[in-house]
């Protein structure tokens, strides 16, 4: 089963290799940007010059508050005397941790629900669709704020709370996409044929429907991850995300930096903000590029230019 999946994945990458021109460029740009931050997140303990909440150096000397970029602090320091660069690097870790968690949880809940609901239909499906549609239409940030707020009352704010709040917001999205896909697949001739031959629902879902649906998951998950980072940063900005003592978070740093702008202090807000923009752009490029490449509607194969050869010498008509 695993080897089958891997083989299938390998075949799915055929189009990536075949695609030419713009789409391939986009995918690679996305991969590079994303990997940059992944590496940053993974190697944070080693490459970060200081700890994310460190406000004094080894000898106990307190860092200068809001110091401009210098050799000791490449990105400068912020109002709490912590090093901006370290917080950006450690922030990568926080973002990726939370987002990974959120995407996985949303998938684990949304995908099966969507599959089953779409396949079996009936009143349960209708109710679920109504609920999910209602949630989906609701401003996601408000939902996230309220959930984060309520959860933090009970569980204290932290990585887990933020992650749960974000997953809750994105479950309806996965549900919707998967369900709609399944519903359209259900009408496909090969599914109908399988059912006519007496295949059990488990087989039909597992073999035909699931494989098909899974194909669209990478694109959605990637684009979702991009969105999730924005949501997390927004939560952090508004103060419902992660406390600065728990972990570094770019959104929170941005909120502190806002007042700095008035005083002309640009480094405290620019670097965390740029980090958000770059990571989200990277993920979006990756997702869009994948979509361009995998989606048969948008795909454009390379075409050889056609030249007509000179004609064979004309034989005179007998």
């Amino acid at each position: 089963m695993a080897s089958q999946l891997i083989a299938r994945a390998g075949r799915a990458f055929g189009p990536v290799r075949e695609a030419r021109g713009v789409p391939r460029w986009i995918v690679w740009a996305g991969i590079v940007l994303t990997m940059l931050f992944v590496v940053m997140a993974l190697t944070a303990p080693w490459i970060s010059p200081y700890a994310f909440d460190q406000y004094q150096d080894a000898s106990g000397q307190r860092f200068v508050k809001q110091q401009a970029p210098s050799s000791a602090h490449w990105f400068g320091t912020n109002v709490q005397s912590t090093d901006v660069m370290s917080r950006v690097i450690w922030g990568a870790r926080t973002e990726l941790k939370v987002v990974l968690f959120a995407v996985v949880v949303s998938l684990l809940v949304g995908l099966p629900l969507g599959l089953l609901s779409g396949y079996f239909g009936g009143p349960v499906d209708r109710v679920l669709v109504l609920i999910m549609d209602a949630l989906f239409a609701f401003p996601y940030l408000l939902l996230a704020i309220v959930i984060a707020f309520l959860l933090s009352d009970k569980f204290g704010s932290g990585v887990a709370t933020a992650a749960f709040a974000i997953s809750a917001v994105y479950i309806p999205q996965y549900f919707r996409v998967v369900r709609n896909h399944v519903v359209s697949l259900r009408e496909e001739s090969y599914v109908e044929a399988a059912r006519a031959l007496g295949a059990r629902p488990r087989t039909v879902i597992g073999r035909y429907v699931f494989q098909n649906v899974v194909q669209s998951v990478p694109v959605i998950a990637t684009l979702n991850a991009a969105d999730a980072i924005l949501t997390l940063a927004a939560l952090g900005f508004l103060g419902y995300g992660i406390q600065p003592t728990d972990a570094a978070e770019w959104g929170y740093d941005s909120s502190r930096a806002l007042s700095d702008a008035g005083a002309g202090i640009w480094w405290t807000g620019l670097f965390p903000g740029m980090a958000i923009v770059l990571l989200v752009t990277g993920l979006t490029l990756l997702g869009e590029g994948l979509n361009d490449v995998l989606n048969p509607v948008l795909r454009r194969r390379k075409m050889e230019p056609v030249t007509l050869p000179p004609r064979a010498p004309q034989e005179d008509q007998g």
Binding site: L141, L142, A261, V297
Partner: protein
């Protein structure tokens, strides 16, 4: 295969009937979400600041000592009468909050939408038409990067550039304090009020304050619209009726504008409804960034003060807006595309 087109009126009635279950579900969700927190809102907001007797009185006045099911029915009844409660912390009817701060948000989101639609649709159409050209790629990148910028970052940059260094545009509030003090608020929509008031300097002040927040929020939405419109244009250009129109000798420009673009925009209208949710989320951030006293700003403030009644009232209002907008969008969609009406 042939079927007569349902009249718009029948469609409207059917659609409205479907609204009720969705509305009911949303309201129920809001109700239960607000009661997840332990204790009651009165204690949460004012506990420790007032004597116990006082708290009890307030609790009773707000109806929090009644059994849950009674509270639920009361709540639904209140919503039906558009009564959103009274805040605990500053004793303001939530309806007032909605009107005063809601109009601030309305003004912001309206102009943001204007920016988003003109920039987003315009650039999206160009990108789709000139597929894979330099213009197309740059427009796409622009759309992606702009969406990746959180409202507060754009706000931060704007404040750096315009506020501090160049001082062209104000970065805080809806109007300068003097103007705010003097302007009579009939509609609470400052732009309209300023026009009514008739003073040019006041009008200019209000407009200037509107520019940065509306553009910030608008550009973010434009980023999404660009991608959407572009994909739709690409798909539409492949349509069979496009080739058929060309075969009848219709010139390319007309084919593109009258057939491709128009048809490409129809699915966009549907998605516009979803953009409203995005718009409102973005509004919360934008308002906080620019100190714009809108309803999102107030929501955050009430949340920080643990004023759950205010929060419940505001969120309920949002739920109603969401439903209303989605019905409106469906309606517009049916008006544009005759195939949709059942």
């Amino acid at each position: 295969m042939a079927k007569p087109t349902t009249s718009l009126r029948t469609y409207a009635l059917t659609r409205l009937a479907l609204v009720l279950p969705m509305l009911w579900i949303l309201l129920t969700l809001v109700f239960f979400m607000m009661r997840v927190a332990p204790g009651d809102p009165v204690t949460a907001a004012l506990g420790g600041r007032l004597p116990e007797k006082e708290l009890q009185d307030r609790r009773h006045a707000a109806g929090y000592d009644k059994p849950l099911i009674v509270q639920y029915v009361d709540y639904l009844g209140d919503v039906a009468r558009l009564n959103f409660g009274t805040t605990i912390t500053d004793d303001r009817p939530v309806t007032d909050v909605i009107i005063e701060n809601g109009s601030a948000t309305l003004e912001l989101t309206f102009w943001a939408m204007v920016v988003a639609l003109s920039v987003g649709i315009g650039l999206g159409l160009v990108a789709g038409r000139l597929r894979d050209s330099g213009a197309d790629v740059s427009i796409r990148m622009f759309g992606i990067v702009v969406y990746a910028m959180p409202a507060f970052f754009l706000g931060f940059l704007a404040q750096l550039l315009f506020g501090e260094r160049l001082g062209w545009l104000p970065t805080s509030g809806r109007a300068s304090p003097e103007v705010q003090f003097l302007l009579p608020t009939h509609t609470h929509l400052y732009l309209i009020d300023a026009i009514i008031y008739g003073d040019w300097a006041t009008f200019k002040d209000v407009v200037l304050h509107l520019i940065l927040p509306a553009t910030t929020l608008g550009l973010i939405i434009a980023g999404v619209l660009i991608r959407l419109v572009r994909v739709n244009v690409l798909q539409t250009m492949k349509g069979d009726y496009i080739e058929a129109a060309r075969a009848r000798g219709i010139d390319e420009k007309s084919v593109v504008y009258r057939h491709a673009f128009k048809n490409a925009l129809v699915p966009v209208v549907t998605v516009l409804g979803l953009q409203v949710a995005l718009l409102m989320s973005g509004a919360v951030l934008t308002e906080t960034t620019f100190n714009w006293p809108g309803i999102g700003f107030e929501l955050v403030r009430y949340l920080n003060n643990r004023d759950y009644i205010a929060v419940q009232g505001i969120i309920t209002f949002f739920a109603l807006i969401v439903i209303f907008i989605s019905v409106l969008i469906d309606f517009v969609n049916a008006w544009i595309d005759p195939r949709v009406r059942y």
